[in-house]
């Protein structure tokens, strides 16, 4: 059973194709990684799937519904959420508030109730806060809860974004380089966290440059190069693919 179906997505900027005709599918509980060299079009692909960019061609189908170019807030209602490579945290809010913001769909009610601080409004906010604190514990940020997000380290902010996305209780979670800027220990924690989320039935779409991590946790890998899908398959198959080695792993190995 397919949860998220990507069909022939493509987009160009100023006449240059950044992503060309990319298709693949993701099932619930599956971790699908999108890999490729810098500038291959991974983030752009995420941006199209999550409604940030308007795709030039192709379709995105979520749970049988065509959600192409749907606004992100409507996708959120349908169970899609994401994190960002270039961090998008709410800088001047506290870590806790950032996470509570992830509960927006559950906690928001009438503005009037909020203005008057009615019990209903307070109850919704309290429930969200309790959930947020639990999530912060899961990503190891409970001690930073009251700090202003802008004062956190890069690696902590990455985890904060994951917590915020988890708050939506998504069916599909798109993670753009969640382990970037994290040390080995933190990377391993994130690794476990992702596996855990997937185990609870969430479909995960992952972009990550840490190949060890990708090979370890992915069920399926899609390889992009110059915007095109050049290979696809399970980690073992992909890592043996000569085109992939040439385009990507080759460069990595040569460098390492």
């Amino acid at each position: 059973m397919t949860l998220l179906q990507i069909e022939g997505l493509g987009i160009s900027f100023g006449g240059i194709a950044a992503v060309k005709d990319v298709s693949f599918a993701v099932k619930p509980g599956e971790i699908v990684s999108v890999i490729g060299p810098n500038g291959a079009g991974k983030t752009t692909l995420f941006n199209m799937i999550s409604g940030v960019y308007l795709p030039g061609t192709g379709r995105v189908v979520l749970n049988g519904e065509d959600v192409t170019a749907m606004s992100p807030h409507l996708l959120a209602r349908r169970g899609m959420c994401r994190t960002f490579q270039n961090l998008q945290v709410f800088q001047s809010m506290t870590v806790l508030e950032n996470t509570i913001a992830g509960y927006h769909l559950q906690e928001s009610g009438s503005v009037l109730a909020d203005l008057l601080n009615l019990p209903a409004s307070r109850r919704r906010a309290r429930t969200a806060e309790a959930g947020a604190r639990t999530l912060l514990k899961r990503v190891g940020l409970e001690r930073a809860a009251e700090r202003e997000a802008g004062s956190l380290s890069y690696g902590s902010l990455k985890r904060l974004e994951i917590a915020r996305a988890m708050a939506l209780n998504p069916k599909v979670l798109l993670l753009d380089e969640p382990a970037a800027g994290c040390n080995a220990v933190e990377t391993e924690e994130i690794d476990h966290l992702i596996a855990e989320i997937a185990a609870s039935g969430v479909a995960i779409l992952l972009v990550e440059h840490d190949m060890k991590m990708v090979m370890r946790i992915s069920n399926h890998i899609v390889v992009l190069d110059h915007g095109e899908k050049i290979a696809e398959g399970d980690p073992a198959t992909v890592s043996r693919n000569p085109a992939v080695i040439a385009a990507y792993l080759g460069a990595e190995n040569a460098a390492g």
Partner: protein, 290 residues
Amino acid sequence: MSELLQFLLSGVTVGAVYALVALGFTIIYNASDVVNFAQGEFVMLGGMTTVFVHAAGAPLPLAVLAAIVLTAALGVAMNKLAIEPARGAPVVSLVIITIGASIFIRGAAQLIFDKQIHSFPAFSGDDPIRIMGATILPQSLWVIGGAVAVFIGLWLFFTRTLLGRAVLATSNNRLAAQLVGINTTFVMTLSFALSAGIGALAGVLVTPITLTSYDVGLGLALKGFAAAMLGGMGNPKGALVGGLALGLLEGLTAGYISSQYKDAAAFIVILAVLFFLPQGLFGRKSTDRV
């Protein structure tokens, strides 16, 4: 027919002034991402300084030159004292700073000059020129000609000179410009001087027609700002088209509908344009990279 022509002629004259003010907004915006609400004060200073230097005995051309140079110097001072130190502040803070600067300049002008209405003789007399049943003042031709000269001069500067290209490069991408060795601080200084000088020139040209006083700046700044946004902020072509469009609209509304509501037409059109083109007529569409 001659009536229409008359409205068009007065519209173009006003539009040329708006275009010059809008150009001043554009130049500073490109160099620093700041919308300078003190732009109208430069226009006021151009007129008022000329009046007072001329009254002190200097010949008109010398007074004009002095007004432009002094205003340009003030523009540079404003950049150094108020804009550069606030680098990176949020938009709303920058709005407050430039409005603060404009209030300051107005207050100073009121002390240094006075609160009276002033003028000086038109450059080529006051005998209206007849064109197909309509009339135009010779000074209007000076205004239109001055605007044309400034736009052509600036276009040559941006396309033909190294310095002009450096300014353009900075407006496209400040960081990249710094990396290739362009002194972006100097570009900013230059932009403020240029923009203040152009504002002062506009003030000089238009004063014999509209007269001037210490408080004419605000209205001009709002119109110039509106014209620049109508054209699409950051685009000199937009400033020209936006300014002329606004002037013509005002001329036609004042002529055919109601002179009280001439400003209304301008702002209704701006709201309408922004409704369909959120970046103005020629503005670049920006996407956030995430």
